[in-house]
Each structure stands twice: as structure tokens, then as C-alpha cells.
Symmetry: D3
Subunit: 239 residues, 6 copies
């Protein structure tokens, strides 16, 4: 039995709200149950130095948690004077995942920065971030097309992400904080709409996981990502 009463293969209620704030070219509040992340996509007509002269654009991400998005207040990273290792790991993961869905050549010499800021945390903030960030990126690309800065859509795939894990010996989908903090294994899976893998990050700090457990988790992830992509499509279909 899961702490939340959910079935092993059951996602939390998923909500995707577009146009959540007014300034960003894409602005999405995504909720995986009590986990709430604001994902904004900002278009800038400049590129990082290492791309100069290549004709390519760039998509990158930054991640942050509001100090009291968590049960206990965390120190603000700006007052600590640096981003921690976990923050860097997550924002690098989000950036790589999105770049797997877009043709940077077709984007042209501009960059899109996705900011994922956690308003409230209850487990799965990185998978919610990736799933919401895709929708924000989609809106930013639509903005570029509508304003005739782009003629051709550079997105060539849909991306979503979910966590899976072993909890009390059972493979489960979309862990919340209560499960996450006591799980033996935690794996984040990023996939595209062709059912292929973009990222797999599985960690067993307690007990190592066997090959059969890995396969069970991958199957759960696959079904979870499929449902999340349906939610993304519904959100994007609304005006």
C-alpha cells in the first residue's frame, strides 16, 4: 500500500496551466499532486559565446526552489553565494532533455532559457519541471512562429519525464515526498513520443536493484510518460 493510497502504476493528479504569468513567451504552472513548478520560457536574440559563428541557437534551463517550498526552510542559494550540486545536476538534466526535442540549427541564432522555479515541493520536482518546461518551450516556439521570427517549427519531438522507484519492495510510479524519502531506489526517466529514452538516471543509495526490478520500473515509466504526454497535448490544444 502506498502512503497516498494510489495504485503502484497511478500518477498523481496532473494539472498544466498555460499563460500563468504575463511577461514570458511561455509560462506554465505544472502540478504533479502537491508539487507545483512554474516553468517560464524566455526568448533572447543572442547566443552564448561558444556558439558564435555556428548559425545555431541554444536551449538551456535553470532551476530553483523557493526557500519555503519545502517542509523546512532552505537557505536561499543567492545568499549562500552559489548554486549547490543538486541544483546544477537538475538544471543540466532539464536543459539536455529539452535540447533532445529541438533542432538548434532550425532555431537560428537565438536562445531560449527555461526557468523552473519550485513554488511547492512534494517529490518529483525535476520530472515535473521537464514535463512543464516542454509546454513552455512549445509556447515560446509558437510565439516565434506567430511573430514571423521563425518560419519552420524547430521542435521535432515531444518530451516528458516521470520518476519510478522501489518502495517497500514494490516498483511504483511517480513517487511523492513520503515515498521518495524512504524509497530503496529512485529513477528518473525522460522519454520522447517515439517511446525512446532521452535520459535515464537511476540511483540506489540503499540497496542495489536487480535487472528484473529495472525492467519493471522501465515499464511503469513508459506508461507514465504516455499519460503525461496526453496531458501536455490537451493543454496545448486549449487556446
Amino acid at each position: 500500500m502506498r502512503p497516498s493510497g494510489r495504485q503502484a502504476d497511478e500518477l498523481r493528479p496532473i494539472t498544466i496551466t498555460r499563460h500563468y504569468t504575463k511577461h514570458a513567451e511561455g509560462s506554465v504552472l505544472i502540478e504533479f499532486g502537491d508539487t507545483k513548478v512554474l516553468c517560464t520560457a524566455s526568448v533572447e536574440e543572442r547566443i552564448p559565446p561558444f556558439l558564435r559563428g555556428t548559425g545555431e541557437g541554444w536551449v538551456t534551463a535553470e532551476y530553483g526552489m523557493l526557500p519555503r517550498s519545502t517542509g523546512t526552510r532552505m537557505q536561499r542559494e543567492s545568499s549562500k553565494g552559489k548554486q549547490g550540486g543538486r541544483t546544477m545536476e537538475i538544471q543540466r538534466l532539464i536543459g539536455r532533455s529539452l535540447r533532445a526535442a529541438i533542432d538548434l540549427k532550425a532555431l537560428g541564432e537565438r536562445s531560449i532559457t527555461i526557468d523552473c522555479d519550485v513554488i511547492q515541493a512534494d517529490g518529483g520536482t525535476r520530472t515535473a519541471s521537464i514535463t512543464g518546461a516542454y509546454v513552455a518551450l512549445h509556447d515560446a516556439v509558437d510565439y516565434l512562429i506567430k511573430t514571423r521570427k521563425l518560419k519552420k517549427n524547430p521542435l521535432h519531438g515531444q518530451v516528458a519525464s516521470v520518476s519510478v522507484g522501489i518502495h517497500n519492495g514494490t516498483p511504483v510510479l511517480d513517487l511523492d515526498y513520503a515515498e521518495d524519502s524512504s524509497a530503496e531506489t529512485d529513477m528518473n526517466v525522460v522519454m520522447n513520443d517515439a517511446g525512446a529514452y532521452i535520459e535515464i538516471q537511476g540511483t540506489a543509495e540503499g540497496h542495489a536493484f536487480r535487472a528484473d526490478e529495472l525492467q519493471a520500473m522501465l515499464a511503469l515509466a513508459s506508461s507514465g510518460v504516455e499519460q503525461l504526454m496526453q496531458k501536455q497535448r490537451e493543454a496545448l490544444a486549449a487556446s
Copy 2:
């Protein structure tokens, strides 16, 4: 005529939403028109080193803007590695303003940190922060009383804040971004419910302001703060 069509002495629509997130002892979303700030109050059973042995508690504030809360994306302060001068000025102002409303001796050896994070900016983020922070602080104090950590209410005053300025030669109340960026003078006023001043910060980078203009702005601020306090009381009266 003001860009927004408001009267010179008219506030923007004010909304105060309590219990906006679930972890913090006080959590308030305050909206001054399109300016939206999340103010959370976190109680911690420890005090900063300079207060050890005094028996007193502490109330402090931190302020941040989400990178795309503004028209143009701002660099994240955590990735710059330090908080800028404006951020420090604002969070020191919020902290001083709140400490003017509370008896730190009566609070006991604990601290309350107010985090004011700007979700969307349209002028007046510091005055909205102070006004929302007071409500979050009030909820955190109520939590301490309900959980019997405090017997006596340490709050001895109500605090709110509003901006006033000279725009196109006319004193106006509660400037939005369009006005703020072209105002000749900008003044932030923090007052208590006895009508006395806690902070006055008036700046004339363009043209210096005369004594009569100062008096007109102070009168507007006084009426604005009174209306904001009414909003605070209504929000706190709701369950």
C-alpha cells in the same frame, strides 16, 4: 491622466490570498494589480548569534525576483553568486518594517523569516511585499499561539506600505511599472495603524521635489495605507 486610467488617489485592485502554499507557517499571495508576490513566514526555533543570551527573538526578511517576473529576463542572483544592492536594500527595508510591529522580547528565542518572492512584477514590489509580509507574519504568530509555543501575542501594531510619486507633475498613489519608470520622484512609505511613519524613502533622481509636493505625497500615502490595512483585516478575518 494616468497610463492605467486610474484616479491620482486610486490604488490598483488589491488581492490577498492566505494559505497559498502548504508548508510555511504563514503563506500569502498578495497582488497589487499585476504585481504578484508570494510572502511566506517560516518559524525556526533558533536565533542569530548576535542575539544569543538576550532572550529576544528575531524577525528578518529575504527578497527575490523570479528571473522572468519582469519584462526582460534577469540573471538569477544565485548564478551570479551574490545578491545585488537593490535586493539587499529591499530585504533590509522589509525586515525593519516588520520588526517595528512586533515585540521581539515577547516572541522569545526563535526567529521568523519572511521570504518575499516576486512571481510577476509590475511596479511596487517592495510595498506589496511589506503589506503581504505583515499578513504572513500574523499567520505565523497565530500558529505559535495555537500550538501553545506563545501565550501572549507579540504583535503590537499593523503595518502596510504603499508607493507615491510625482508623475507628469502630479502626485499619484501606488505607481505601476509604466508610471514608475517615468516618474520624477518615487517615495515608499511604511506606516502603522496609529497613522505614524515606520519608514519613508523618497528619491528624486531626475528633479528634486519641493516641500509642498512632499506634503501631497504624504497625504496620498496615508490614505493608501489606510485602505491596504482594511484589506489586510478582511483577509485575516476570513478563516
Copy 3:
């Protein structure tokens, strides 16, 4: 009775020494009683990036305290690795105050940096800094005119600053450290020679101040600034 024996409306002895060091285009030691601040103005033939292409110049300020300018040694900000919030607040205030006295267009594409370094502190370091910085800026502008880099004087006003406060229930002028540390209210006022306000920063961490107290402090400030401007003019009249 004030700790120093001064009348409520009496300034400390004011001394302004020009040409205090030999390298800077303007170099002024200003003393407000035991508070001693060295203000140097440095002309540089370059402008910050945000002004490129505008044809405008820039005036900015930096503020520092020698580690043992105070009763207890303070840690050096360079060894802490960052400037504190108070330092940033003060240097931003000095910069804004001086920019209110100069036509940046007429200054041309160059910048003047005013460094205010506190040699000895006894209250009022920021008001002494502004008052001395104006004289250093004046000397730097004179240097530009004498060396024919400027044809027209870009200064269009005179600027001085003084603190006022409520001490033992009485409004007083130009607080020294003994008063400042026990004052109920502290207000710094920056004015120009037309008697108009450039900055007002009033703070009541202890007790809020009433409208009548505000008016009494403003009157004291006005008279104090007038006397300081007279001192500035005398210093500038000397060769």
C-alpha cells in the same frame, strides 16, 4: 540635553579640507566632529556598458570603512568576499544624490567615481560622505574645465546632506554615534540649493514617528543643509 552638550539645532564642528591627497582629480577630507571621511573623485575616460552609444557620462560612488574606523574592529569586506547590504545601500544613495546635481549629457562620455572612505566614524558617515563628495565632484569638474576636456560646467545644483532624528523625545540635528545608537528615529535628508529634496530616508526601528515629528525633523534638516552648503561654498572659494 544632548550627550555632546550641543543645542538641538546645532551641527558639530564642520571642516572641509581640499587637495587632501595628491593623485585624485578631487580629494576632500570632510569632518563632522569626530567623523572623518576621505572623498576622492576619479575621472575616467570610459563609461559603463549600459551607457554605450548614448553620449552620456556617469557619476557613481563607492563607500568603505577602514576596519578600525569604529569602536570595535570590523572584518574587512575584501576578506569577507563581498560588500554588505549597508555598504551597498550607502553607496547607491551617494551616487543617486550626486547624479541629481549634474547633467550627465553635458558631462560627455566619461565617468567620475567618488570613493568615500571612512577614516574615523562617529555617526553620520553617509551624510558627511555626500556633503564631502559634492566638493570632490566640483573639483573634478573644475579639473575637466581647466584641462579643456569640458567647455561647459555640467553641475546644475549644489548638494548637501544631514541627519536628523528623535532622541529622548526631542528632534535633533546631526546625530553623533552616542545619539544615533539610542535614537528612536533616524532620518537622512539630501537637499539641493533650491531647498528641494533629493532623498529622504527616515527609519523608525523602535517607535514610529508622528506627522508633527516628521515636520520638525524636516525643518531642522533644512537649516542644517543650509549651513553645510555655506561651508562647501567657503571651502570651494579658497584656492
Copy 4:
């Protein structure tokens, strides 16, 4: 055909040199072909603050690259003033992997820090680091047993790691720099001697990988880790 002429399932020549430097409790130079990493294990009789009072010990890792371990000189992280995201990701991975092999309770209130410093890089520095770090950790534990600081061996598993990837459409084992920089997919796998997974980190920045490719890579990884563990055992068997 692989650039190095190796078979798809062939490791590079592996060398493990123990007692490489004289001060550390464990000191191992590990070579995966031209990739050379010095792994030292340092025992310290203290624990990080978050473990105080738990009776547990700690194992952690730090990772660095000498500035010219790579084809082009990299800026030293100490002169940049911070560790980059990649460094943090890798050292967190090494630390987690080693902690999966040791009973921290049985280690007692002390910590072992593994420093992995890359002397020469040619792809696979993180997998070489983990594989060498295990041997250094083993030597440090032996030192604790020999010096009677520990009675019981806290190691309960053997850990090694290898990279796999898709290069020119073919799954290959232990990628060198020439392959790594042009691989479509790169996956680092950490396993224990029971054949279970401790970490899986697979990334497809270019093309997403299919389920069958994932299975082929996992099979290669399994065989590679088995061979590496044999090398570890041989090295540890030598005096």
C-alpha cells in the same frame, strides 16, 4: 570499426597501481588506456555536522581535473572561484556509488574522503574514478583494521563502473575520447559484485535510444564491470 580498433565489447588496457603516493591511507593510480586518475582515500576522525550524534560515519568524494589533463587547457576551478556543474555531478556520483558498498554504521564516527584527480583524460574519467576509488577505499579500510581502529570490515560489496554507448549505430563498451565526443548515446553504469545496479546514467543528447539498444548496452556494461572487478581483485591480492 572503432577508432581504437577495439572490438565492441573490449575494454581498454586496465592498470591499477596501489600505494602510488605515500601519505594517503589508500592511494591508487588507475589507468583505462590513456585515462589516468589518481584516487586517494583519506581517513579523518570527524564527521560532517548532519551526522553528529547518529553514531554513523561518512564516505564522500571530490573530483578534479588537472588543467592540462585535457587536449586544450581548462581554467583551474580554484581560480574561477567555484566548482562547475560537471564536477559536482561527478563527485556526487562517486560518493553515492561508494556509500552503496559500505555500512556507515559499522564505519563508526569517522569519515573517508576519496579524492579523484585526473592526471590525463581520454574519456571515461568518472568510471575510472569509481573503479579506482573502490580500491583506495578498500586500502583505507584495511588500514583501519590493521591499526585496530575497526574490528569488523564495514565493506559489504565490491563496486566498479564502466561506460557504454551507441557509436556509429553500434553499442560499444568503455568509450575513449574519440568515441565519446561523437557518440549518439553515453551511459555510465555502476554495479556491485552481485550483478545489481547502483547507478545508471544514460544520456542521449543527439538521438534518443530505443529499448533494444538499452538492453544491448546493459549487457555490455555487465560484462565490462565483471572484468573490472577481476582487475580490482588481482590488484588487492598483491601485497
Copy 5:
């Protein structure tokens, strides 16, 4: 012929002003010609962590230059966020030199921090700093004796420092900026009142210096230090 018209073995005019500021236990303005350094000694009843439990005290130094103490304005180290290599080198040199004159055991568990802040620079700031710092340290020790915190004087030697160099092929004493910037060799010598060496730091960035040049410079240094010690004694003899 030297740019200043001085003889090869002639010091600049030396002035030592004690009690220059009022807060510090020792406060000395030292002038070597146009080089002016304020040296303050601050007594603190605490010691750095590495000395806890040893019963010893500590003497250390910090060094800074006001931004416009030099011909061209230097960026403030506090705004750069770190102390440069030159600053660190100099303050370590001052600290070592002073510790060579004092019995740290006899000082007891307290520390004296000497701050050397350059008000105006014209070459030789580090030798002026050491020479002035000794006098400030002496005053701080006198304060400890007068206030009965110390019974026995922990100072066991007198310390002074001077620079020597090869300028236009000639060994010269006490280089000013004009000489220093064009000298072939620059050497700073710190000596005690027994005529023995505490520090010798000789640098030849341009042309290496021969053994006979070294001897000539050492002879000049010796005579210069003797004169400086006479100045120190005269200053300390005054009340």
C-alpha cells in the same frame, strides 16, 4: 642622479604620527615622503581556532589600498569579491615580520590585528607599513600593560623595513614610485635592532643581480633600517 635628487643612500623624509585616530589601541600614520599609510592595532580577546588550547596569542596583519591612493584608480577589492595576490603577499609579510618581534606565549590568549591602509602611494608601501605597524603594535602592547591585562612586555625586539634596489645601474635606498617602476631590481629587507634579518625579498624581473650588487644593497638596507629605528624610538619617546 635619482629622480628625486636624493643621494643613493638617502631616505625620504620620514614622519610618524601616533594617536592618528581615536578608536584603535594603536593608531599610527607613517609617511615615507609622499607614501602615507595608516597603521592601526586592534586588540581582541580571542584567538584563531588553530591556537585554541595552546595558551598562545596571535599577531596578524591586513593590508589595503584606498582605490585612489594611486595615480590611476584601482578597483576596490571588496567589490571584486576577493583580495588579490599582491595584497595577500604583503599582509602575510607584515604579519610574519611583526611576529618575529613578539613572544606569543607572553601575549596570552588574545590577538592583535594590524591594519595597514594606504592613504597615498608613492612606492614603498609595504616597508612603510611594517615600520609603522611596529609602532602601532608597541602602543597596543602599552595599552595592555597600562590596563593591567599584561604584566610583562611580550615585545623582545624592534622591527623596521626599507626597500633597496638597482636603479640606472646604481644601488639606491628607499625607492619612490618613479624609481620603483623603472628599477632593474627591487628588494625589501626587514631587520631587527640586533642587525639581523627577519625577511629578505629580492626580485629581478628584468635583469638578474650579481653577488656584489646584492652586498651593496644589503649594506644600504642596513643603514636605512638603523635610521628608521631611530625615528621609531623618537616617536615612541614622545607622549
Copy 6:
């Protein structure tokens, strides 16, 4: 008697291994007994900003210690966020010493960075670094000549360095850690092949050294440097 059993004028066994790693233009492992330093020389076709337009090149050095190169693990400077004073002092010394051997005009608009990384420390890391760095620099210059980027050899001198000190009252050559940590005086001497001095840095934290002791140490240094230069020439003569 010296702890190592060496004669007072006896160097430790010296080994110089060229081509130690494969990427750098010069790569030298130098061993002074148990002290082992890897010196790499990296050629880059760019110069620091302050040399732009001068036609000159640049030679600079960076120094680091692996965390467990020493008896007790040192914190990594990259995780501390800054290089310490000792590191800065040493890398500035290495850079100045090398620049004394090369004609920067003849080097042309390029820079050579020497990284000296201590693999194992047993006293004398800075003198070993300078001595090894010269060989690495020589190899990098040879590379520039062989690849026809330089026609003329810009090196005009040979540079080596050794430490001398007073240990148990006796002047000794090339101190190891056991001697260094208990020496009364420690002096590092950098010389060229004409027998002239490039740098002398002598420090007496404990007891000041007399003129006759200084002369004895200089004589030892001279003989030590001569032997080191012989070792450098032998190493460079090998292919």
C-alpha cells in the same frame, strides 16, 4: 646531523621525467626526493588584455596541491572558492622566475601557462616547481620552433631554484619537510646560469639570521643551483 642523513650541502636525489603526460606542449614530472611535482606548459595563441597591441607575449604560472599530497588532507581550493595566500605567492614567484629567462617580445603574441601541480609533498615544492617548470617551458618553446611558429629561440637564460635554511644552527641545502617544519630560517633562491640572482626570499619567523648565516646560505644555494642546472641539461639532452 640531518634527519635524512644527508650532508649539509647535499641535494636529495633529483629526477626529471619529460613527456610525462601526452596533451601538453611541455610535460615534466620533477622529483626532489619524495617531493613530486607535475609541471605542464600550455601554449595558447592569445594574450592577456593588458598586453594587447604591444606585440609581446606572456609567461605565467599556476600552482596547486592535490588534497592528499600532504600528510593531512587539505581542503580543495576549488571547493573553498578561492586560492589561498600561499598559493598566490608561489604561483607569482614561479611566473616571475620564468619571465626572467625569456624575451617576451621574441615570444610574440601568445602565452605559455605553466601549471605546477604537487602530486606528493615533502618540502621544497616551490623550488622543485621552478626547476621543473623551466624544463617544461623549454619543451614548449621547442615545440613552437619545430612547428615553425617561432623562428628564433626566445629563451636567453636557464633558471633553477633551491631552498636553503638554518637547521639546528647549521646552514643546510634543499630542506625536506622534516627539516623545513623545524628550521629557524628558510630561504628560497632562484638563479640563472650566469650565477646571478633572480629571486631571494628569506624568512625568519623564529630567530632572525645574521649576516654570516646569510652568506653561508647563499653559498650553499649557489652550489645547489649549479647541480640542478646540470640535471636540467641532462634531461633536455635526452630525446
